[in-house]
Assembly symmetry: C2
Homo-oligomer: 109 residues x 2
């Protein structure tokens, strides 16, 4: 099933899970211990995160270790890029204003 990455990171619990498994791979039980939820609830979140490839899993015996697929996070960064251009451009414009003021002061001397 395909899944929107922005919809996936909308839930605060899922963002907390992402932050947790970004540091090291974890089993659903271990993740659940870090929050006030059941393992089943975590499992559902992990499924959603897996569906949009934000998370990968590695089975070891009966345990399944989940970890962050960092490559997928770049997709958000890519979306943000268009807006970064805007705020950086705005910064440059401010920069120009400041240097203009500077020049004017110079001429006043």
């Amino acid at each position: 099933m395909r899944r929107d990455i922005f919809q996936a990171i909308a839930d605060p619990t899922r963002r907390a899970i992402i932050a947790l498994i970004a540091l090291q791979a974890m089993t659903p039980n271990t993740i659940a211990e870090n929050f006030n939820t059941t393992r089943q609830a975590v499992s559902k979140h992990l499924r959603i995160l897996t569906e949009c490839q934000l998370v990968k899993q590695e089975q070891q015996g009966r345990e399944i270790y989940y970890s962050l697929e960092i490559e997928k996070m770049k997709e958000i960064d890519k979306w943000l890029e268009q807006y970064r251009k805007i705020w950086e451009n705005r910064f440059n414009q401010l920069d120009q204003v400041l240097s203009t003021i500077k020049k004017q002061k110079k001429n006043e001397k």
Copy 2:
């Protein structure tokens, strides 16, 4: 009312609205014309976007012009920063591997 910015950008229609008003300020009617929705639906989206300060409004007569509050977008960038560190670090590690291979080839000559 306070509102989670990640929840705000989760909806694809809202992201489209953001992209639209990032370029220039627009009235709800104009925005609605660009999509397959009613003005009322757009109005609801704008309300949500306003509630998390992603959007600002300026009244001109009976028209209200909505535009993007670019500063708020940086909040997403800030959240992404912790993960950017991870993928940049990973890239550096790859870089080291590549330069090691290069050195080895050099020594083979």
